[in-house]
């Protein structure tokens, strides 16, 4: 893919990442201490994600002799290593961290989940140079997942039962879900 062809998907990813960070960070004054470093980290992750999509990938002319490639500058080698780091995943963690630094706001968190999923799908479309129609089979699962997120947000807004019993139940459910998630990806 040419540079011009990569600009549009990278811009879309950058825009979605900006929305994710902004949604997770607002209100900036309402968070706990440590919000600023996490916010800076999230912005850096978004920038590196977009820059990684923009920089030369397969199919781009490499008009230079072999010896010139071996003597690549330290800067280009460093950049090559940096862009291989999992920046989209880091952005996901950073935006969840931003959300955790704010007081509990269930509906806000549910919308953030939707935005993060949208960001991950946009990154995949940009990397694979694919059209959004490739996610047509995922639509029922997405709909069910969003329903569950809405349900959990609604449940979180209900008056708390007892701190001990609720948190213990939640910990058990979370542990089971983590095991299920690990089991799902292990065969790959």
């Amino acid at each position: 893919m040419t540079i011009a062809g990569r600009v549009r998907p990278a811009l879309i990813v950058a825009a979605v990442a900006a929305v994710v960070i902004a949604w997770a960070a607002v209100p900036a004054g309402g968070g706990r201490a440590g919000l600023k470093p996490v916010l800076i980290a999230a912005i850096a992750c978004a920038l590196f994600t977009a820059a990684g999509l923009l920089s030369a990938g397969p199919g781009v002319a490499q008009i230079q002799p072999g010896y010139a490639r071996r003597e690549e500058s330290f800067l280009s080698r460093t950049w090559s290593s940096v862009r291989r780091l999992p920046w989209p995943q880091a952005l996901v963690v950073a935006s969840l961290g931003l959300e955790a630094l704010h007081p509990s706001r269930p509906w806000h968190s549910a919308v953030l989940a939707v935005l993060i999923i949208g960001f991950l799908l946009a990154v995949h479309l940009a990397e694979a140079a694919a059209k959004p129609s490739v996610f047509r089979p995922h639509l029922p699962l997405l709909a069910v997942g969003l329903g569950l997120a809405v349900l959990s947000a609604g449940a979180a807004m209900l008056p708390a039962l007892g701190a001990a019993s609720g948190s213990g139940l939640l910990a058990v459910i979370a542990a089971i879900a983590a095991v299920v998630a690990a089991a799902l990806v292990l065969p790959l």
Partner: protein, 426 residues
Amino acid sequence: MLTAGPQRTVTVTWRLSGLARGLVTLALAALALAVITRRAEFAGMAAPALLLLTPHQPSRPESVGVMLTVAAGQVTETEQATVLAKISGHGDATLQVCLQPAAWIAAGTAALGDDGWFRLPFRAERWGLRAVGVLEVILRDRWRLAEGRLIVELPPVTCMPLPARLESLVVLSKLPVRLGEHAARATGEGVEFAGIREFVPGDRQRRINWPATTRRGTLQLNTFSAERSQVTVILMDVSTDVGTVGLSTSDLAVRATAGIAAAYLAARDRVGLISFGRQVRWITPAPGRRQADRIMTMITVDHGDGEPLAAVTRLPSAALPPGALIVVVSPLLSLRLIEALRELRERGFATIVLDVLCAEPDIGSGHLGSRDRAMAKMARRVWRMEQDAIRFSLRELGIPVTRWDGQSSLDEPFAPYSRRVMVNRE
């Protein structure tokens, strides 16, 4: 001309896709935060990601068939060629095909045709036997959770140099007695009018010049120039290579040689080649299309089958027929070649040198001291004077030296010698 290679089976290595890794990160991070912060909404955030991870596709192809069709002949510098690839046995996995180009190859965007073949355009930017690169195929399952990657190496292509343009040829005054297209000084059966002479019995009556006959009172006859072919031997000096890669002395020498050979062969002349590089190789003069192919192959691909340069004491006589025009394409940096030129001139060959030197010694960057910088500048001046002296000595020997910058057509440097015949002695 295209040839289809046999289908080969390539093993696919499957791994987690970037999307799956992102979803796993989201799910695990959200669950961990739910436990740590004791906030249920984080567990809810993990739900969509976990659901998107649930589809499992057990039957992914372990290997796929790859058929490649590449340009079997040759490509010329900056000419676009295409690699065709057909992938089979991938089931319902989607394909992303791209060409990872090797050095001096510019790759375009892959496109899938209606016939199921992927077309991957590429362009060789520099002459020589070039590796095209590798074909990278990425397979993605229906749910985009796993991706398989395979790499197929593409066969090399021979990239011919882009011939420099040459339309006006340098022609010698005395040409060998072989039928050709150049008008010779001797009279013969050509079509170019040479003069008139008195009719003698046996002459063809249709050549009688009646106006001249009327004026002089005796029968006068038109005479015509004989049409002869010339023997041209190109001495291509690639023993040194200086300058920017792509526009170096070797690049210029090769492109000039290709242009000169093509122009003389198009005029039905006999053209030979002596390649003066790490080894001395040569092709004896001959006419025709096959000779053009032989010359292009020799200047493009170094098979290493010639005589080592150190073992060669003089240029091969077999490649230098008497009466040949010797066109030397050289940066004139090899003293061995200068000696060879001196010897050629002593043997009576009409020789012309096309100077392709396009670079000067680098005097270094700014971190040199003022004293060192002055010394470097002086060294470069001495080098320039040496180069001028070499060219002056060749001109004194009767060998014209003309300079070519690699950008313009060859007609420009050859203009002073192509407007009139170049005198040679046999």
